[in-house]
Amino acid sequence: MNEDESKRPPEIDVVESSPPGAPLSPSVAAPLDDAVLHTSPEMAVAEGDIRFTGEPDGDAVVRGTSLWKDARRRLFKNKLAVFGLVVVAVVTLGSVLGPTILKLTLGTSPDYISSDAALIKSFPPFTAPDGSFSWTHPMGTDRQGRDLLARVLQGGQISLMVGAIATLMSLIIGVSYGAVSGYLGGRIDNLMMRIVDVLYAIPYIILVIVLLAVFKNQTPRGQVILLFIALGSVSWLTMARIVRGQVLSLKNQEFVLAARATGVSTPRIIFRHIVPNTLGPVIVYATLTIPTVMLSEAFLSFLGFGVQPPLASWGSLVTDGIQNIGIFPWQLIFPGATMALTLFSLNFLGDGLRDALDPRMRKF
């Protein structure tokens, strides 16, 4: 797909562009629908977007449906996307609140090694040290005898945080770079985009490994911050291209002209008038960036360059689990399955958002 060339009008709002409260009876719905769809065939309006409410007699009112309302409706119709949204919400809540809840109810915590773990440390799921059934460790324990569920939830905090913060970084860099490049245009745009081309061709994960490896003598917390910076600073390129493509088609619109005519400064035009109009594709792409970044974090942790103990992420838990896979398979399976389920849900949510906000981008 080629975002650069996409010349899409901004959010075209069919109904709001007609005078509000114009007396329309439902019988003219079809012609209006047709006319609108013909005048701009490219725009992101799905069938059935125009709905008329109100009484057929006299003052029929057209209720405006905004881009966001439409998107929400389409999103909630998509079962897989809703499933993704629910899972992501549950996993996020579980990671944030879970460790505390576990401590209060089952008495386990990510760092707590129970005294009966002195002899055998790895208990299978739902098993007490003497081999009988027990609710204490629903996912079993790790090699040190720590509750695996608590570890997985704690790992979720870091994995989700890396995903969120690195994506936020890529969002800030990518949106400002793309918007400035697209709006200024001409030689500056050309130069800025050639830089992106060059950076695009770089096998960046190799550079990230080098960066994390050579700066490794860090505190665990420092390593996580380095991870944010490294992943955030390499994942903004596509975002910049998408935003630039959007800005190119927006900058000649009347509202920008109006802003310029009233003497609004260039930075203000870019960030207050243009950028808000690019939000649809930006949100879609950001949602799809989160699983990618989380996967990169897990990959780096797997190689030993990511999250360092005593901190844990899903990637580092999986790595620990691999060590004894033949004897204690649950130590790999639970963190691995949690991560896969979360990534799966985020991907479906991203796909759903794309279909909802931007049906034209439906490519992959």
């Binding site: 060059v198 096998p203 050579v214 190689l303 790999l332």
Partner: protein, 306 residues
């Protein structure tokens, strides 16, 4: 076309230089160096070694020397493996990585294109939903989770396949690494094929082909696939980059003596010539392959003219 190739080469060369410069700067900026290990060398010996590798010269001279070496494609000798040149290490480990990578990509192409085409031809059927859900699973399950689980099932539980080690190409040992590595590409290729085919199947020239009475098989294999697979061709470039990171993981899981393992070791040991040698080599291969992919794309798609 020639102009296009030249223009692409003109972007490729600075890109390689940027990659190497960034790598070199990172290695140099980081605190510590190869000799700051726990076991301290006597000062005189360290001094001699530094002279041997040219580390006593001013940094400009060292940078130029390194660039000169890379232009001649001679990456010097490794510090971590003092009796071996970087070229020898690459020559020895590349075949392992390349075998696994190429086999994985071929497997991914066959399975992915088949699954994607079926999904597109039977859109919204249960075949479509099943293969697309599988594809999404393939994208979401990281290879370092998939690999150990395959080992667990096929080696440790069923005793069908060896769990690790490299024993040359035609051997049972290749199967699990190749499947592990190809999982995610299968998934991507299936999704790309489906999207590409769906777009093509609705186009006029397919209607023409059907109208002139071709059988459905002919329509699909002769006409639809050629256009529908273009996204897959353009995915080859990014796929190569991913294959690289994938092989790093797979080599570690299955204990294969490939390029990735040496790279990780070099990065952890601060073995500067080896890091820069491998990064430069990989960047050059990757960018040249990307160039080839672009040329192939232009050749395959008559709508594109440069």
């Amino acid at each position: 076309m020639l102009r296009f190739i030249i223009r692409r080469l003109l972007i490729t060369i600075p890109t390689i230089l940027v990659v190497i410069t960034i790598t070199w700067t990172l290695v140099r900026l980081a605190p510590g160096n190869f000799y700051s290990a726990e076991k301290k060398l006597p000062a005189a010996i360290e001094q001699n070694l530094r002279e041997k590798y040219g580390l006593d010269k001013p940094w400009r001279e060292q940078y130029l020397r390194m660039m000169g070496q890379i232009i001649r494609l001679d990456f010097g000798s490794s510090i971590g493996y003092p009796d071996q040149t970087v070229n020898a290490i690459i020559a020895r480990s590349l075949p392992v990585s390349a075998t696994i990578g190429i086999l994985a990509y071929l497997l991914a192409l066959v399975v992915g294109i088949t699954a994607g085409s079926i999904a597109a031809l039977k859109q919204n059927s249960k075949w479509d939903y099943a293969s697309m859900t599988l594809a999404m699973l393939g994208i979401s399950i990281p290879n370092f989770v998939l690999g150990p689980i395959l080992v667990l099932v096929f080696s440790l539980m069923l005793y069908w396949l060896p769990p690790s080690r490299w024993e040359g190409f035609p051997s049972w040992n290749v199967i699990l690494p190749v499947i592990t590595l190809s999982g995610i590409y299968m998934a991507y290729i299936a999704r790309l094929t489906r999207a590409g085919m769906l777009e093509v199947l609705n186009s006029d020239y397919i209607r023409t082909a059907r109208a002139k009475g071709l059988s459905e098989t002919q329509v699909v294999t002769r006409h639809a696939l050629r256009g529908g697979l273009l996204p897959v061709v353009s995915y080859t470039g990014p796929a190569l980059a991913f294959l690289l990171t994938g092989t790093v993981v797979v080599e570690r899981i299955f204990a294969l003596p490939g390029l990735g393992g040496y790279f990780l070791q070099a990065a952890s040991n601060r073995d500067e010539p080896l890091i820069i040698g491998i990064v430069a080599f990989v960047a050059i291969v990757l960018l040249l392959m990307n160039l080839l992919v672009d040329i192939a794309y232009a050749y395959l798609d008559p709508r594109i003219r440069y």
